[in-house]
């Protein structure tokens, strides 16, 4: 088995694995989707009733805690905000205390206080304690407040995996495809377009046929499927994967963890087989 990284950035990865079959490829895909732990807000406590604030002129003003959206919708939106994750944190049920208690190893608390009018952004969500757990993107709107409205929230974030709820899903758009090669006779007009726009896709440009691959996205490739003169070959042992993350973990961390996680998943199957 050989892994080749084709493209990697903070939130996106594209890589090729050679010498595996569909079953193995799908195993990697499913691990990437639902078995990467990440931090997300699970419990939100709203302050209900009136909220007093001393204004700049020294007078106390009373704000209302009612908002345009239902509290359930607000807490759902808060849950979906990606938070920077430390993979050394524990799941709550694997921590040393009973599952209904919390400790700094498994829980991060957040507060949010915002007075209207204005939009409440994810940047207003302040972690209690370490600043590194702040939301990845501070510009996610949560709710819009009118005059005399205020939002005071306590929130609790725990680790979880994507199989439980979408808020713990690190990756999106996880997909794989097999390596394909197209043999294009050189009398076709599309040759010039490919030479111009898809240079990286060309494997060989000698003789009567040009050989190209669709491992890298290229806008002319869709046309090739409809041409009878073009011959396509699939290599079902080379798989090209791609996925993107929501920023809570980098693409590199995610891939590393997924491959490490595969081994424990397979070990669990082996251990549970009774001979």
């Amino acid at each position: 088995m050989k892994i080749k990284i084709l493209q990697i950035s903070e939130r996106y990865a594209r890589f090729e694995i050679e010498g595996i079959d569909y079953a193995y490829a799908n195993m990697i895909r499913r691990t990437l989707i639902n078995d990467i732990p990440k931090l997300a807000i699970k419990n939100v406590t709203f302050h209900l009733g009136s909220i007093r604030k001393v204004e700049e002129d020294g007078k106390a003003k009373v704000y209302n805690s009612s908002t345009p959206l239902f509290n359930e919708i607000i807490s759902h939106r808060i849950g979906l905000i990606p938070l920077k994750t430390d993979l050394n944190m524990k799941f709550r049920n694997e921590c040393d205390h009973p599952a209904d208690q919390a400790c700094p190893l498994c829980t991060v608390n957040y507060t949010l206080t915002k007075f209207g009018p204005g939009i409440v952004y994810s940047g207003d969500l302040m972690p209690i304690g370490d600043e590194k757990f702040a939301p990845v993107d501070p510009n996610i709107p949560i709710v819009k407040l009118d005059e005399n409205q205020a939002l005071v929230i306590d929130a609790e974030a725990i680790m979880g995996t994507g199989r439980e709820h979408a808020r713990w899903q690190v990756t999106s758009g996880v997909a794989y495809k097999v390596h394909r090669e197209f043999r294009i006779p050189k009398y076709l007009e599309i040759i010039d377009l490919i030479r111009k726009d898809c240079k990286a896709n060309i494997i060989s440009d000698e003789g009567d046929v040009m050989i190209i691959t669709d491992d890298i996205p290229c806008r002319h490739i869709a046309k090739l499927y409809r041409m009878d003169e073009v011959k396509m070959e699939e290599d079902e042992s080379r798989f090209i994967f791609q996925f993107e993350t929501d920023g809570s973990l980098s693409a590199k961390e995610t891939l590393k963890f997924a491959i490490k996680r595969l081994r424990t998943r397979l070990d669990r199957i082996r251990d549970s087989v009774v001979v």
Binding site: Y12, N64, S66, T67, P68, L69, I73, R77, L80, I81, P82, D137, N139, I140, P141, V143, K144, D146, Q149, A166, Q169, T171, S172, G173, E244, D246, G247
Partner: protein, 73 residues
């Protein structure tokens, strides 16, 4: 109401893309004094990195109604 935080189908955080998409559309309206063409919208999505059609339909079909309901708290 408000734009959903994530894409319903794939889970990508699209709300920040929606804000940037709106800025770009407004820019075209202001500079060229017309609605953007479908090719221009396609180009905006590609520049933002919104490549899948599930995320694109989230942004393109959204109607922001929060300002209409804000009076009914």
């Amino acid at each position: 109401m408000m734009m959903p935080v994530r894409c319903f189908s794939c889970g990508r955080v699209i709300i920040t893309d929606y804000i940037r998409f709106q800025e770009n559309v407004e820019k075209i309206r202001r500079e060229k004094n017309r609605e953007p063409t479908s090719d221009e919208i396609d180009q905006i999505f590609s520049d933002l990195g919104v490549n899948r059609y599930c995320c694109r339909r989230m942004i393109i079909s959204h109607v922001d109604l929060i300002d209409d309901v804000i009076g009914f708290d």
